[in-house]
């Protein structure tokens, strides 16, 4: 494929590989021997009940915390072993939308979105301004660059956080509970954006959420974590899981109220 891609890798190469990852806090183990791959261009949703370690897994994948055991490979590099320069380069290829939007309250929305650009020399102020407007346009926030986060609604702040996460054209976007605290309308708007950006820019997406309806609507592939199992208990596309999953934990969580497999 000759495409708008950053590397010469094929479309089926995984962008992230998690190998026998074990993680926890102090004495407690949260995740045990977790293996997974994130494929180029897909929307991968990691679901599970509250406290099962979804955010922990996400933070491992972006190198914010180190695994107790196992490895996280991003683009082939072990994220816990690379030097600072390489780590920064990897991070520039990653955008993260945190659960609380993580916009800086002392800066305007425009300054927030421009922040990642300040790490680059030799970019004119006009270019920065236009890039900010372009990204704000992509998340339907044209005109709001001089507003402070406190003056925006929850949904707008989330989209602002998304604009900031996207400003360096990351290859991979991470979302932690994207629809948390949003009403159905704002949530639906964010969903549309997620799908549009994935389709338009080809950005690989990893979404961590306990909101089943959102996940079933946007996911190409679902991984379900379970607190008791300390790891993945189901994997597959929404359709595959709906048609084949028999594990009661999975059925109860994802398809509560629907008939069991074969029972329709």
């Amino acid at each position: 494929m000759k495409g708008n891609r950053d590397t010469a890798q094929g479309p089926d190469d995984p962008v992230i590989v998690v190998e026998s990852l074990t993680a926890g806090f102090g004495e407690t183990t949260i995740l045990e021997n977790v293996n997974l791959k994130v494929l180029r261009g897909e929307i991968l949703c990691i679901v599970g009940g509250s406290g099962c370690g979804k955010s922990t897994l996400l933070k491992q994948m972006i190198g914010l915390i180190r695994p107790d055991n196992g490895r996280v490979l991003v683009g082939g590099d072990d994220i816990a072993a690379v030097d600072d320069e390489r780590l920064n380069r990897i991070r520039r290829g990653i955008g993260v939308l945190f659960q609380s939007d993580a916009l800086f309250g002392s800066m305007t929305l425009g300054e927030n979105v421009a922040l990642p650009l300040s790490g680059f020399k030799g970019i004119s102020a006009e270019t920065v301004q236009l890039i900010v407007r372009m990204k704000l346009g992509m998340v339907n926030l044209v005109g709001y660059e001089n507003h402070y986060p406190a003056e925006l609604s929850g949904g707008m702040r989330k989209r602002g956080g998304l604009a900031r996460a996207m400003v360096l054209d990351p290859q991979i976007l991470f979302f932690d509970e994207p629809s948390a605290g949003l009403d159905p309308i704002n949530s639906a708007e964010l969903e549309t954006l997620i799908r549009g950006i994935n389709a338009g820019l080809g950005t690989t997406m990893v979404i961590v959420s306990h909101q089943v309806d959102l996940v079933l609507r946007v996911a190409h592939r679902i991984l379900m974590l379970d607190r008791g199992a300390k790891g993945i208990v189901a994997a597959g596309s929404p359709e595959e899981l709906r048609n084949t999953a028999t594990d009661p934990r999975v059925r109860n969580f994802l398809f509560r109220g629907e008939a069991a497999v074969g029972g329709r």
């Binding site: 030799g122 996207m166 389709a199």
Partner: protein
């Protein structure tokens, strides 16, 4: 910092086809190329003065958002000259990116002009301290802080100076009233208490030197430092603690910023600039307080009082007190910020962090001051 001015990963070839100019783009075009590429293409068009411009993108292997934006900007500037503009052989991926861009939104003016209200951080609560773990964490943080300072000494342009000025105002200017008031009162009290004794021996004139020495050597630096610790160490802890709760610190890290360079060093620089100045200001007001007692209660003239004060202050001790103030400033910024970074859980921890910042900073200031007293005694 990333230097994007070095060798571009793309190639630009021009070809004249009669009245048409064809620009052939090849390779990778990214953020760092945007400005230069735009200028080059504009120059090429200006030099050729064609009736139409065609941009051929078939050789482009990758183009990021900033690159696509460059094409749109070029189109605007060329169309404005009345020259026709076409993009040809546009790869599918680039076409899709263009589809996501709201072109009209690029030039629409913001809903609100620049400048507006700023939110304020708050938090109060109870303190808890675990000594040994705590000490290790404080030292580890100090190590990181020193490393960040060394890095920024080598790269002073990376310092966020606008933040430094912001905190100079916060710590300094806004601290002036309380520091002045307390200093004047302390001067009054010392002068009054000592005058009761010294008057009996007819040695009233020594009130001036007693006040001056006490204020300049000890009370000025330490009172100012404790007041600033109360105002600013707590504010630093609350600010950074709240940022941790809101994932803002994690967001900084993922965007490739070092949170210590970004958040702590400006506060450190500001405090180190401001505290010695505030100390001088406190000295002045302390002596003024003593003078009020001297002139009103002891029948000294202002002139003799000031002359006596001046005689008793040595330049050495004045300098030593400023050095002390700078050290106290480091303690305040270090502890205030470290307590903020210690916040792990929710908002309620922010309150504990602010209290702990003030208590720990004050304690350390007093301990270090005692050490200074001993050392200076032997110098």
């Amino acid at each position: 910092m990333t230097d994007t001015t070095s060798k571009p990963g793309y190639e630009l070839t021009e070809r004249d086809e009669g009245s048409a100019l064809v620009l052939y783009l090849q390779g990778r075009i990214t953020l760092g190329d945007a400005d230069l590429l735009l200028a080059r293409m504009n120059d090429a068009v200006a030099a050729g003065n064609p009736a139409s411009v065609r941009i051929d993108l078939s050789g482009v292997s990758y183009m990021d958002g900033a690159g696509v934006l460059t094409l749109l900007r070029l189109e605007d500037s060329i169309r404005k000259k009345g020259v026709s503009f076409t993009l040809v052989r546009v790869p599918e991926e680039i076409r899709r990116v263009m589809g996501l861009i709201d072109r009209e939104g690029l030039t629409r003016s913001p809903l609100r002009a620049e400048g507006g209200p700023v939110g304020i951080v708050e938090g109060l609560g109870s303190a808890s301290v675990r000594i040994s773990e705590d000490f290790a964490a404080m030292m580890a943080f100090l190590g990181d802080l020193v490393a960040a300072v060394i890095h920024l000494l080598r790269h002073p342009r990376e310092v966020r100076w606008e933040d430094v000025f912001f905190y100079v105002r916060r710590v300094g200017a806004e601290g002036l009233p309380i520091v002045g008031l307390i200093s004047i009162l302390i001067g009054l009290i010392i002068a009054f208490m000592s005058s009761l004794q010294l008057k009996q021996f007819g040695a009233s004139i020594y009130v001036a030197s007693l006040v001056a020495v006490a204020i300049v050597r000890e009370l000025g630096p330490i009172m100012t430092a404790i007041l600033v610790a109360g105002r600013s160490a707590s504010a630093f802890a609350a600010e950074i603690g709240t940022m941790r709760v809101n994932d803002e610190v994690d967001a900084l890290v993922t965007m490739g910023f070092d949170p210590i360079r970004f958040l702590v060093v400006p506060k450190l620089i500001a405090t180190v600039i401001v505290l010695p100045l505030l100390t001088l200001y406190a000295d002045l007001f302390g002596i003024l307080g003593g003078m009020i007692v001297g002139v009103a209660g002891l029948d000294l003239t202002a002139y003799t009082y000031l002359q006596e004060s001046q005689r008793s202050i040595s330049v050495f001790f004045l300098n030593a007190s400023l050095v002390k103030a700078a050290v106290f400033a480091c303690i305040i910024a270090w502890i205030g910020c470290q307590r903020g970074f210690q916040v792990r859980g929710g908002v309620e921890e922010v309150g504990a962090a602010t209290t702990s910042a003030v208590v720990t900073a004050t304690l350390l200031i007093v301990v270090v001051d005692s050490a200074f007293a001993v050392v200076l005694n032997y110098l």
